[in-house]
């Protein structure tokens, strides 16, 4: 509630200014989705072979958002690989209580930027590796 006690010229009214901005963003995404739908009309997503529990395909790959974990599991023991994402999520959940001091300088921004981009590059690298292998 501290933000509300600012000078008038620092703020815009929620309606209509902010709503208008949000509306334009939503409209843009909506048009994008219509274009995606048009592409879908021309080139349907398609389906693979029907599921057959008797036939194991050679290359099994999960969706891209699980691919980094899948790739990681090829090199570390299965139990560790299964526990690692849970620990990562617990760390994410607990993060506000670990890093709780208020920011004093812009330096903290840069530190967190470097940290998050490093993690992201690691995950993206694993995903691309998994996609190619």
């Amino acid at each position: 509630m501290v933000e509300e006690e600012k000078k008038k010229d620092d703020t815009i009214p929620f309606y209509p200014d902010h709503i208008r901005t949000e509306f334009y963003v939503t409209l843009g995404v909506f048009v994008l989705i219509l274009v995606v739908g048009l592409v879908g009309l021309l080139t349907p997503l398609g389906l693979g072979q029907p599921a057959d529990p008797m036939v194991t395909p050679e290359h099994i790959k999960p969706e891209w958002y699980f691919l980094s974990l899948y790739q990681l599991l090829k090199f570390i023991p299965k139990t560790t690989g299964a526990v690692a994402p849970i620990l990562a999520l617990l760390l994410l959940l607990a993060w506000p209580f670990i890093d709780h001091k208020p920011d004093k300088t812009k330096q903290t921004y840069r530190n967190r930027l470097i940290l998050s981009v490093t993690v992201l590059i690691l995950l993206v690298g694993l995903t691309i590796w998994g996609e190619l292998s």
Partner: protein, 342 residues
């Protein structure tokens, strides 16, 4: 004439019903199957002459023969047989729509004039009246204007503040396209694959809806990650917004769970084996692993039961939790305001 407030409406109702009954029982527009049989015999008429004329000019064979149309002087419904007019459902529908809206417009004008004449006050727009009607009963205008006039800090209109909103909008898109798919999808091992094929090939715009559902799911995960990185880098999770961060992480988990459960539903080889491997990984968690595996697969193998369970999770359980958490997420933002950057 207008002794009570409602007599005008009563008159209007009586008039409308009378007109409707007149229309219902009038001879106009009755099909000519009811006519005596001698009228049905094909005979040279204006219509057939015109047909031969047009076929001579265009020399095409795809103009249908219209020998059954009687001569104009014997036609019970002349305007039904205007040459070249489309005779599908849309023509009468369009006619009803046009004349109906004209009639409604006329009735509205009469009502408006009568109201001004009776009340001796200028007419207020119909939307104002509706708003007033609601406001008198529920007193919404004060809290609503308070909510709408809440100041938003200017920095919150920078582009990277819209990522969370886009995620929310994509969730709405997922909901709508998902409902559209659920109309035709069949969560049994016999019919799942073929119902997806049916959506892809037979249903109007089915392939477009499925394409949108697939790609906006991917977009939603991307936007989740982008939004999360923005919040993380700017330290927007710090006191007093810890619970907002936690609800956000839970929403990310739910989004990934949506992806995992939705991936099985087409029941093709990729879906089946991805789920088999995925639940196997869940099964290798120490202590609770086997329980998780049995819960996910409903047994030791991926079967039709698994498909049913994933479908129920995908369309019932996960959306409910997501909606609750999203409401909390938004209410907390609303209450605490967007975090102030340095």
């Amino acid at each position: 004439m207008f002794r009570s407030r409602y007599s005008f409406y009563v008159l209007l109702l009586i008039g409308t019903i009378t007109l409707g009954l007149l229309g219902l029982f009038s001879q106009h527009g009755r099909a000519f199957d009811d006519l005596p049989s001698e009228d049905k015999t094909p005979q040279p008429s204006y219509a057939t002459d015109l047909n031969t004329l047009t076929s001579n000019i265009l020399s095409t064979s795809d103009i249908p023969e219209r020998t059954e149309i009687p001569a104009p002087d014997k036609d019970p419904c002349l305007h039904c047989h205007i040459q070249g007019e489309f005779s599908n459902i849309w023509t009468p529908f369009g006619r009803w729509f046009l004349f109906g809206s004209m009639g409604l417009f006329f009735i509205f004008g009469v009502y408006r004039s009568a109201s001004v004449w009776k009340n001796k006050t200028p007419w207020k727009p119909i939307l104002h009246r509706a708003a007033e009607w609601v406001d008198i009963r529920y007193e919404l205008s004060e809290p609503l204007s308070k909510a709408l006039n809440k100041p938003v800090p200017k920095y919150a209109t920078r582009w990277f503040y819209c990522l969370g909103g886009i995620t929310g909008f994509l969730f709405v898109v997922q909901g709508i396209s998902g409902i559209m798919l659920a109309f035709y999808y069949n969560p049994t091992i016999e019919a799942a694959y073929s119902s997806i094929l049916y959506i892809e090939t037979q249903v109007s715009f089915g392939s477009a809806v499925r394409f949108i559902h697939h790609w906006s799911a991917n977009g939603m995960i991307l936007m989740c990650i982008a939004h999360m990185m923005r919040v993380f880098i700017m330290g927007a999770y710090k006191t007093p917004r810890e619970l907002n961060w936690i609800s956000g992480v839970l929403l990310l988990i739910l989004t990934l769970a949506f992806g995992f459960t939705g991936y099985l539903l087409p029941w093709d080889q990729r879906a089946f084996w991805a789920t088999t491997v995925g639940s196997e990984i869940a099964g290798s968690i120490p202590v609770i692993g086997e329980l998780a595996l049995v819960f996910l697969r409903v047994g030791w193998n991926v079967t039709g039961q698994t498909l049913s369970r994933f479908y129920a999770l995908h369309i019932l359980v996960l959306p409910i939790f997501t909606l609750i958490l999203m409401a909390l997420h938004f209410m907390m933002i609303r209450r605490q305001g967007v975090a102030r950057p340095m």
